[in-house]
C-alpha cells in the first residue's frame, strides 16, 4: 500500500467493479473540498493492466473532477494485497458505515454480491441486509434485487422522489418500455407508498383483465391528462387518478359507491354531520358522524339531523342499500 497523489486521468472512472453509489449528491462534498481539500485519501486498486480502480472514494473522485482538480490523495493497493472480494467489501462497509444508502445502491450492492462474489441468498439475508440497515427477510432481499430491472430514468426517479421499496419493486415488474410510459405519470404525482402501490396494482390488474398493454390503458383512459393539469394539487391528482382507475377496475362497486354518494348528497345534513357506509357494502349498517366543539352545539345539531331525517331520502338510502 502506498500513499500518493494520483493523477485523476490515471483513474479508470468507468470501471465500476466495486461501485455501489448511485445518483450521488456532491454539492456539500465539493464545498468541503473547496474549503479544506480531501481529508481522507481514497483507496484504489492497481490492476495488472496498469489501470487504477476506485475501491473507496468514488464521490470524492467525481467531486474533484467537477472542481477541475488534477490529482487526488490515494492509497494504492497492488492486486496481490487486495483481492476483488476484499475491495468490494471495503467499499460496501465504507459506504454503509458512513451514510444511509438509497434503495438503488442497496440493490446494486446485493446484486454484485450475488452475481460476482457468489454470496448465497441466506448470507445476503442474514449478514448483508442488517449491514445495509434492512430487516433480514427474504421478501426484502427479493424486492431490493428486483430493482435491477428498473431503467436508469426510473432508478433516478425512485431515488430523487424517495419512492418506497415496495412501490419501486412493483414498478420494476413492468417491462422497460412500460416503465418509460409510466414515468411521465409518476413524475406528476407524489402519492404515499400505499396509494402508489394501489395505483400500480390497479393498472396491472386492468392490463391483465382486458389483455391490453399499460401504454394502451394510459392512452385509453387519458391518464396523463388526468395528472398533467397544472392547476390541480398533487393530492387531488392522485385522488382523480385513483378514482378513474378504480372506476375501470371495479365498475360495479364504483357505480354503487357513486349512487350512494349521490343519495347522501341529496340529504340536507348539516355540514358538521356526515353519513359513512362500509365502502364495500359488506356491513349494512350506516354510521352517522358528527363534529362539534361546544356542548351547546349538540342540541342544534340533533335538531337539524332530525329535520333531515324526516325527509324521504333517508328511507330511500336504506331501501336502496338493502335492495
Amino acid at each position: 500500500m502506498l500513499l500518493q497523489y494520483l493523477p485523476l486521468s490515471n483513474i479508470n472512472i468507468a470501471d465500476d467493479s466495486y461501485r455501489i453509489t448511485f445518483a450521488p449528491r456532491l454539492e456539500e462534498l465539493k464545498r468541503s473540498i473547496r474549503a479544506v481539500g480531501v481529508i481522507q485519501p481514497i483507496n484504489v486498486r492497481h490492476t495488472p493492466e496498469n489501470t487504477y480502480q476506485v475501491v473507496t472514494g468514488y464521490k470524492r473522485v467525481l467531486a474533484m473532477q467537477e472542481l477541475g482538480r488534477q490529482s487526488v490523495p490515494a492509497l494504492v493497493h497492488e492486486p496481490n494485497d487486495l483481492s476483488p472480494t476484499q475491495a468490494f467489501l471495503w467499499n460496501l462497509h465504507d459506504n454503509a458505515a458512513t451514510r444511509e444508502l438509497n434503495i438503488v445502491e442497496k440493490s446494486h450492492a446485493l446484486s454484485k454480491l450475488s452475481q460476482f462474489y457468489s454470496v448465497s441468498e441466506e448470507e445476503l439475508v442474514k449478514q448483508f441486509l442488517p449491514l445495509l440497515g434492512e430487516e433480514p427477510s427474504y421478501k426484502t432481499l427479493h424486492q431490493l434485487m428486483s430493482l435491477s430491472q428498473l431503467t436508469e430514468p426510473l432508478k433516478n426517479h425512485v431515488v430523487m422522489c424517495d419512492v418506497a421499496l415496495s412501490s419501486a419493486s412493483r414498478i420494476a415488474e413492468f417491462s422497460p418500455a412500460t416503465q418509460q410510459e409510466l414515468l411521465p405519470v409518476l413524475t406528476q404525482i407524489r402519492p404515499s407508498s400505499a396509494k402508489l402501490n394501489e395505483l400500480l396494482t390497479l393498472i396491472r390488474e386492468i392490463s391483465a383483465r382486458d389483455a391490453v398493454s399499460v401504454e394502451e390503458i394510459l392512452q385509453r383512459y387519458q391518464i396523463l391528462q388526468v395528472v398533467a393539469d397544472p392547476g390541480t394539487t398533487p393530492t387531488d391528482k392522485v385522488r382523480a387518478l385513483r378514482q378513474a382507475l378504480r372506476g375501470v377496475r371495479l365498475p360495479q362497486l364504483s357505480e354503487r359507491q357513486r349512487q350512494l354518494a349521490s343519495l347522501i348528497d341529496n340529504l340536507d345534513l348539516p355540514d358538521s354531520a356526515r353519513l359513512v357506509a362500509d365502502p364495500y357494502f359488506e356491513n349494512d349498517k350506516i354510521k352517522l358522524e358528527c363534529q362539534f366543539s361546544h356542548p351547546e352545539e349538540i342540541g342544534d345539531l340533533i335538531k337539524k339531523i332530525q329535520e333531515a331525517f324526516t325527509k324521504q331520502q333517508w328511507h330511500q338510502i336504506f331501501e336502496w342499500y338493502r335492495a
Binding site: E205, A208, R209, R249, L250, P251, Q252, L253, R256, P279, Y280, F281, E282, D284
Partner: protein, 389 residues
C-alpha cells in the same frame, strides 16, 4: 384394486419431466418415498411401502425437519408417510364468528396431493409435498371416541380440506377402510370430496348411506385454466352418476364460483353446470350442494401467477373483506341467490349450503335460515340425519 383412469389416452401422453400437465390425470406415483420412523412399522405404511418397492425410500426421524426442494414440482414428486400430530378430527375451517357455518367437521388422511389449483395453492413447497397419515387405527379410535362422547349430536365429517382423498387412494386404499368404518356409526356421515374420477374401487363397499362422495365442480373453462391433474367436468359427473347408481349419496361443491364479468354472466355459466349436474345425477341421490364464491388470502395472486401465469381468476371485482379478498357482498348475493333458486327447484333448502358467508348473507338468499329452530337444526345437522337418498 381397479382404478378408473378416465381419458386413458391422455395418460399415455408423454409427460414433461417434473410437472403434471393440466390434463394429466394418470394415477400419482412418487419418485421418492420418505417414511417417518414412528410410522415405519404401521400396517398401512408397510402396505404402501410394499406397493412402491421400486421407489427410493428414506426413513427419517421427523419429516418436518427435512430440507424441502424449493421447486413445488420437485416437492410434489415426493411422498411422506407420517402420523397425525394433535387431533385428526377438526372443526370445519370455515367456522368462525363471522360465518354461518354448516357445522361440519373435517378429517383428512392426506395432506397435499398431485392436484394443483390456482385458487388454493400451498404457501410453501413443504405444504405441496404429498403426505399420508398412516396411523389409521389411532385416527379411527379418536373418531369413534368423539362420536361416542357426542352420541346425541349428528356430524358431517368432511375430507378434502388439505388434499384430495381419492387422488392417491390407489396407493393408500384408505377409502376401503373408512367407508365401512363410517357405515358402522350411527351419528356421522363421512364425505369424500374429490376432483378426480377414481371411484371404481368404492362401488361395492358397504356404506349404509353413511358416506357421501362429493365432487368439487366448476365451469369446464375454469377447470381447464385453473386446475391441474384433475378430471374434466363431464368425467366428474360421469363418476358421480356411477356412485349414485351404486347407492351412494352424492354431494356437490360449487366452489369457487368465479365472477369475472357481470353477475349475470356468472350465473349463466354456473347455471349450465347446475343443469349438467342435475341431469347427470338424480336429485334423490344428491345429499347436498354447497356453494361459495372465490375468496383468498391477499398473498395468493403473487403465488398463483408463478404457478399459473395465465390465470384469470383475479380479474373480477375483488376487494378486501376482513382478512380475505373476495367479491363485494352485493355481487355474491346476486350470484348465490340465482343459483340457490335454480337448485331449489330440484332440491329442498336443507340440502343447499352456502360456504363462508354470514347468517345475514345466507338469510337474504334463504330466509328460512333466519328462523332460530332452523338455525339450530342446521348447526346440529339434524336436517341431514334422515338421509333420503
Amino acid at each position: 384394486m381397479s382404478v378408473s383412469v378416465s381419458g386413458a389416452n391422455l395418460a399415455q401422453l408423454p409427460r414433461k419431466s417434473g410437472s403434471r400437465s393440466k390434463r394429466d390425470i394418470s394415477p400419482f406415483r412418487p419418485e421418492c418415498l420418505i417414511i417417518e420412523s414412528r410410522a415405519a412399522d404401521l400396517p398401512f405404511a408397510l402396505r404402501i411401502t410394499n406397493s412402491l418397492r421400486d421407489v427410493p425410500t428414506d426413513i427419517v426421524d421427523d419429516a418436518a425437519l427435512l430440507k424441502v426442494p424449493s421447486d413445488p414440482d420437485e416437492a410434489r414428486r415426493r411422498l411422506i408417510l407420517t402420523v397425525h400430530r394433535g387431533k385428526a378430527l377438526k372443526k370445519c375451517p370455515s367456522s368462525c364468528a363471522d360465518n354461518f357455518c354448516c357445522g361440519s367437521m373435517s378429517l383428512d388422511l392426506v395432506s397435499a396431493s398431485p392436484i394443483e389449483c390456482s385458487y388454493d395453492l400451498p404457501h410453501a413447497a413443504r405444504e405441496a409435498t404429498p403426505a399420508a397419515f398412516v396411523d389409521l387405527e389411532a385416527i379411527l379410535r379418536e373418531v369413534s371416541s368423539f362420536l361416542a362422547r357426542n352420541e346425541q349430536r349428528y356430524f358431517r365429517i368432511r375430507s378434502g380440506e388439505t388434499g384430495d382423498p381419492l387422488a392417491q387412494d390407489h396407493l393408500f386404499d384408505f377409502a376401503r377402510v373408512l367407508i365401512p368404518f363410517f357405515a358402522s356409526k350411527r351419528n356421522a356421515i363421512y364425505e369424500l370430496k374429490t376432483r378426480t374420477s377414481f371411484v371404481d374401487h368404492l362401488l361395492d363397499l358397504k356404506h349404509r348411506n353413511r358416506t357421501v362422495i362429493s365432487w368439487a365442480l366448476n365451469a369446464q373453462s375454469i377447470i381447464e385454466s385453473e386446475e391441474r391433474g384433475v378430471a374434466s367436468l363431464d368425467e366428474r359427473l360421469a363418476a358421480a352418476a356411477k356412485v349414485a347408481a351404486a347407492g351412494f349419496g352424492v354431494g356437490f361443491c360449487l366452489d369457487p364460483v368465479i365472477v369475472n364479468g357481470s353477475p349475470e354472466e356468472a350465473t349463466e355459466r354456473y347455471g349450465e353446470v347446475v343443469d349438467k349436474m342435475l341431469t347427470a345425477v338424480p336429485s334423490r341421490s344428491i345429499a347436498w350442494v354447497r356453494m361459495g364464491l372465490l375468496k383468498f388470502d391477499p398473498d395468493l395472486p403473487a403465488r398463483a401467477l408463478k404457478r399459473f401465469p395465465g390465470t384469470r381468476i383475479f380479474a373480477g371485482e375483488i376487494v378486501p373483506v376482513g382478512k380475505l379478498m373476495r367479491y363485494p357482498r352485493f355481487i355474491r348475493e346476486r350470484v348465490l341467490k340465482v343459483l340457490w333458486e335454480k337448485l331449489n327447484k330440484a332440491l329442498p333448502p336443507h340440502k343447499l349450503h352456502i360456504c363462508g358467508e354470514s347468517a345475514g348473507v345466507w338469510g337474504t338468499i334463504d330466509p328460512s335460515i333466519c328462523d332460530s329452530s332452523c338455525l339450530e337444526k342446521r348447526l346440529c345437522n339434524l336436517e341431514t340425519l334422515p338421509i333420503s337418498f
